[in-house]
Structures are given as C-alpha cells and as structure tokens.
C-alpha cells in the first residue's frame, strides 16, 4: 500500500472512511454498498473535473473556467441532440470532448502565446463562456422531452451495480493516472510547475505543456457538460454555477499544491470524494439545511490545516542525532510524485 498511496493519501482515505462511518451511525444505510456506489456515482463529475483542474494546477496555473465550459458544452450538445436526434451518441460525446478541448485551448493559447496569467485569462473566459451559453440558447432551456432516450439514459445504465457514469469516472481516473505517471506529457506537467527554469533546461516546453494541460482540462469539462446534462435531464445557462471553486477545493484537499508541481491522482480523487461524501451526507443526517454551507467551509479549512501540518519544513537537520531520526523517514522509497 505504502508504495501506491503516499502518507497523505492514506490519511485522506482514513478521514473519508471515518466520515462515512460517523455518518452511518446517524443515517443507517449510509455505508451500504448501494449508497456508497451512489455517492461515487454522484461525485463522478466532480472527480473528472478535479482531474482536469489538477493537470492545470500542476503547471502552476489555475482554470476558473471549467464550470462555464461545462455549461456551454452541455448546452451545445443538448441543443445538437434536440435539433438532430439522429446524430449517434458517440459522435455527440466526441463533440463534447472537442468543444470542451477547443474552449480549453483558447485559455491555453492566451497563457502560452500571449502570456496572460492563467487566473486572469480564465477569470475572463469564466464569464465569456457562460455568456456564450446564453447567446447560443437565447436563454431557453433544453428539456427532457427534447433529448433522445439514448442521450439521457446511457450514463445511467447500471453495469455491475454502478451506473456507466461512475464507470466513466473510473475509466478517466485510470487513463489520467497512466498519463500523469507514465507519459512524457504527464511528467512534463510536474516538471513545468515544479521548477519552470529547470524544465526548460531539461527540454520541456513549459508553455506548450500548459497549453495541453488547459486543453485536457477543457476536454474533461466538455465531457462533464454532456454527463451533467444527461444526469439532470435539463440544460440551462446556470448549470454548475460556482463549481469551479469546488474543483479547486477538491484538489487542494487532495494535497495538490496551488503553487504547482505537487500532487497525485489518488489525492485529487480522494479530495473530490471527500466533498462528495459530505455533500451527500448532509441531506440525510438531519442537519438543518441552513448549517450545510458553514460545515463544508469549516471542513475545507480543517483539511487544509491538516495537509499543511504535514508539509511543515523539517529544516536541514544538520546535527547528527537529528539527522538520524530523519534518515529513517527518507529511507522509505518514494516513487517521485507518482502513485
């Protein structure tokens, strides 16, 4: 285990399990396999978005436009589906990925070629993309009856007790894990954010890496656009409003540094699940709806505090005895930031 999951992820996993156990004392059945599958399924979209956000955060950037991208792409594919019901679903999903990637590429282009700070570029496109969703639809909704059955029902088709939506998340996690740990592009993400100068010297094109990170984040947002619309069977301009901060929160709770270069796929997934567990638990454990927001805020702060305690620099431990106690820790192999 220790080779696959680093200490931080292990801690987060334990926290997640403790939370689930605690909640199930108040809401029997919360920990049942069915309920857990439910929570995972419900968190799938956040997980996928968080993985995209993670790619961007790793390169020392941030993508605030993920939710707006989701809204625009969701609206676009829903309208496409309603106007041309004959277009097969795989093509629509490809369109969602493509549109999303295109919007992500716009962000990436501004960061790479013009040199606008990512937070500024995506703060701009955050409003622009959602505005475009409004322009595209004229403010009208796309309703359930306008969408085809295949469009609506495919992601909710259960396979081995988990809907396809959940399986999609698992597939994305697997692909991203391989991409981040075992491809040149994935390692470039870590390098570009960890030390841009060093990355340049090592032959990594930092700007281009950022561009592709944004494109990846965009493509995943686009995919989520489709998944969202089909899950809630309606498309309107405001969908997923404010979700960009949830994705950042999931990453941060999962130990991905907003300063780039640090983080693991496991962390991002567990961070998203952490938020998912809380979001799903609060409605069932008899907590006043008015308390939910404060509790999630508090929980984020506590998670960040816990994370930071682990990060505390240990100093250089020059004195022999101090160094000895450290060397025990160092000796445990660490496989880069892979995991």
């Amino acid at each position: 285990m220790s080779r696959i999951l680093k200490y931080r992820e292990l801690l987060l996993l334990v926290i997640n399990l403790v939370l689930i156990a605690a909640f199930s004392t108040r809401a029997p059945g919360f920990a049942s396999p069915k309920s857990l599958a439910n929570i995972f399924n419900d968190t799938s979209i956040l997980i996928i978005l968080a993985l995209g956000q993670m790619a961007v955060l790793l390169t020392r950037s941030i993508d605030l436009s993920v939710a707006a991208n989701l809204s625009f792409t969701g609206m676009a594919v829903a309208m496409l589906n309603s106007a041309h019901p004959e277009v097969p679903l795989p093509l629509l999903i490809a369109a969602a990925l493509g549109i999303g990637a295109g919007l992500g590429a716009i962000n990436g282009f501004m960061v790479w070629k013009i040199g606008i700070p990512a937070i500024v570029a995506t703060l701009g496109t955050l409003t622009i993309y959602r505005g475009m969703a409004f322009v595209l639809s004229g403010g009208a909704w796309v309703n359930q009856t306008q969408m085809t059955q295949a469009f609506l029902n495919t992601p909710r088709m259960p396979v081995l007790g988990l809907p396809l939506l959940g399986w999609t998340a698992i597939l994305v996690i697997a692909i991203i894990a391989i991409v981040f740990t075992r491809t040149i592009f994935g390692r470039s993400l870590y390098a570009a954010g960890g030390n841009p100068t060093a990355a340049l010297y090592a032959g990594v094109d930092v700007g281009r890496t950022k561009f592709f990170a944004f494109m990846l984040s965009g493509a995943l947002s686009g995919l989520c656009g489709y998944l969202w619309v089909s899950r809630y069977a309606v498309a309107y301009v405001d969908i997923a409003a404010g979700f960009e901060l949830d994705t950042v929160a999931a990453c941060v709770i999962g130990g991905i540094s907003t300063l780039g270069g640090i983080g693991s796929v496991g962390g991002a997934v567990l961070g998203a699940l952490f938020l998912g567990v809380i979001k799903n638990a609060l409605p069932v454990i008899e907590i006043s709806p008015f308390w939910q927001m404060a509790i999630s805020g508090l929980v984020i702060i506590i998670a960040v505090l816990l994370n930071a305690r682990q990060d505390r620099r240990k100093g250089r431990l020059i004195l022999r005895d101090a160094a000895k106690s450290r060397s025990v820790r160092v000796a445990t192999p660490v496989e880069g930031a892979a995991a």
Binding site: I114, P117, L245, V252, F290, A294, G297, A308
Partner: protein, 348 residues
C-alpha cells in the same frame, strides 16, 4: 572617510531616473485606462440620450462604489502576493450581524460599529490562518467564503432582517446635500455619501500604498517575501494587517450595501469577490503580486461602472454585459504585453 575605490577613481555619477515624467506618464497603465474610460464615456453619450444626465450618472456610481471600496483593500492584498475570496461572504456575515442588532433595537452608530467589527473579526480569522499558520490564502479563503456565509445562513435561515433605523438608510441612499454644511453649488446636489466615501477611501489607500513605509513594505513583500524578511520587514504582521484591512473594508461595504438595500438576506452580495478581483486586475494589479496602483484601480472601477451602466441603458442583458467585462479584462491585460512584444521585435 575615504574608500579604496574612491582613491582609484572619482565616483561615477548615476542619474536618479532615466525617462522624463512625461515619457513615463505616456507609457503607463493608468493612461491606457484613462483613454479607455474616455472612449467608453464618449461612446455612451453618443449611444444613449439619457447618459449625460447628472442624476443618472449619480445613480450609476452605485454600480461600482461599494465593490471598489473592497477592491482598494484587495489591491493591497494582491500586491502583497495574497488574495481574499471571502470578501462577499464577510459582507453577508457583517450585514447579518447588523440586522440582528437592528432587531435588538440598536441605533445607527452601534450598527455601523458592529458591521465594521464583524468585518475586522473575519479579516483577523483569515489573517490568522494565512499569516500565522502559513496556509495559502486562495485555499483558506475558499473555505472561509463558505464558512462566513454559512454562519449568516445559520442565523438567518429563510428569514430576512429588516427594520433598520431610518437614519441608517443614509449611508447607502443619502446625498451629501442632506448636510447643512455641504456647499450648495449647483450640480453638486447629486453627490451621494457613497461617492464621497469612494473618493476618501481612494485617497486614503492611495496615500497608504504609494506614500508610506507600510505601502513600500507591501511591494517588497509581494515581489520577494524572503528578501523583505531578510531586510527586517515584518512580513507576517504586514499580511495580517492587510487581511484585517480587507475585512474592515468589506465591513464598510456591508454597511453601505445593507443601508442601500434596507434588508439583509444570506445571499447578499453573492459573487462580489470575483468582481472586486476583476476590478483590481483590470486596474493593472499583477495577480502574481508585486505591482499595481490605486489610481489604476480607481480608473478600472469607473470603467466597469461606465460599461455596465452604458450597456444597461441599451438594455443589454446582464450576462452579455459580463461577456464585455470578460473581454475587456483580457484585452486590457493582453494589449500592453502584445505591444511590448511587437516593440521589442522592431529594433528601436
């Protein structure tokens, strides 16, 4: 006192500055923004016959005055390399506290005091987490953003606080001409309290940032916190004070907004954090810290106010307006970068 170097050669003369003041003014961000403001002002007056009406312009200032007051403090914070996403939530909490106090029968001065104190407290909480525990501010304030508004929601639930004393309404709705000592110059009766507050705070923050030791510290910290610390600058204390200031200004905005609305719900000022940050960034504040100016932010506030009001007069839907603001932000940030790049390509 002689030096070896001096014995060898007389010291070289180093000029204070390279360019002339006029040259610096011409190339500055503020000049660019002022040009944009004038262009939008002209476009607005051509596009709508209702634009050049003093009362309308006076109403239009409400589009930006409160947000700008937060943006001033946010500017300092961003220059120092931090950020506060919880400002709108602080407004909600401060407003809720004032509402509760008003229900309990407190009078206007006490209400204002309570609003500002809650703002300060929230700022202190953020400051503590960032400056004392060394947590990244973007993450901390994502958390406190939910926490502060969440507390407001716990207190208010689905209810609203109203029933503020009538004198309280003056901060957000009053005109300076309500004062006997305000000069009765024709044309000046449209000056609102918030406008005066905007100008006063712009001056205060401008002086604080550009003319005091504290302001210099902010730049030093934002550019290189280590070097600042190694120069004896109290880095963490400065950051803490900046969070306090941001909290306080959110409290001020809460007083103005609550007074203007006359009621408090927990959704008050939703989304303002991004608008305040947009204002600062549009004003030329580097989101990475280290540079920016108050005059720039003042101009950016005016530009944003003019754009929203001008488009409002043309009944452009708000969401289309936000496309304009987003484009404006990107174009104004990109323009100097692109121009600089083109200029460096053609040899001078």
């Amino acid at each position: 006192m002689s030096t070896l170097a001096a014995e060898k050669r007389p010291p070289r003369h180093i000029p204070d500055k390279l360019s002339t003041p006029a040259g610096r003014l011409l190339g500055s961000w503020e000049t660019l923004l002022a040009a944009v403001a004038i262009a939008i002002f002209t476009a607005n007056s051509l596009a709508s016959p209702h634009f050049l009406d003093p009362w309308n312009l006076s109403d239009a200032t409400y589009n930006f005055t409160e947000k700008a007051m937060i943006a001033f403090a946010m500017t300092l914070l961003i220059i120092s390399g931090e950020i506060d996403l919880s400002v709108a939530a602080i407004i909600a909490l401060a407003s809720t506290a004032m509402g509760a106090a008003a229900q309990a029968g407190f009078q206007t001065p006490a209400l204002v005091g309570i609003g500002l104190s809650v703002g300060l407290l929230c700022g202190a909480f953020n400051g503590l987490l960032v400056a004392r525990f060394g947590l990244p501010s973007i993450v901390v304030t994502i958390g406190t953003m939910s926490l502060f508004r969440g507390i407001a929601q716990i207190v208010l639930g689905d209810q609203a606080y109203g029933g503020y004393p009538s004198s309280f309404a003056w901060f957000g709705q009053g005109y300076m001409s309500d004062f006997p000592w305000w000069p009765t110059i024709p044309g000046f009766e449209v000056v609102t309290f918030e406008m005066v507050a905007f100008v006063v705070f712009a001056l205060l923050f401008g002086i604080l940032l550009h003319r005091t030791t504290f302001g210099r510290w902010i730049y030093a910290i934002g550019n290189n916190a280590f070097a600042a610390q190694f120069s004896g600058i109290p880095v963490q204390r400065t950051k803490f004070i900046l969070f306090l200031l941001t909290g306080l200004m959110s409290g001020v905005a809460a007083v103005c907004l609550t007074s203007r609305l006359g009621s408090t719900r927990h959704t008050i000022a939703v989304g303002w954090e991004l608008e305040a940050i947009t204002m600062a960034v549009l004003g030329g504040v580097s989101i990475l810290g280290g540079s920016g100016s108050i005059p720039g932010v003042v101009l950016a506030a005016i530009v944003m106010g003019l754009v929203t009001f001008g488009l409002g007069l043309l009944n452009v839907p708000g969401i289309i307006m936000s496309i304009f603001i987003g484009l404006l932000l990107i174009v104004v940030i990109a323009l100097p970068i692109v121009v600089r790049r083109i200029r460096s390509r053609t040899p001078a």
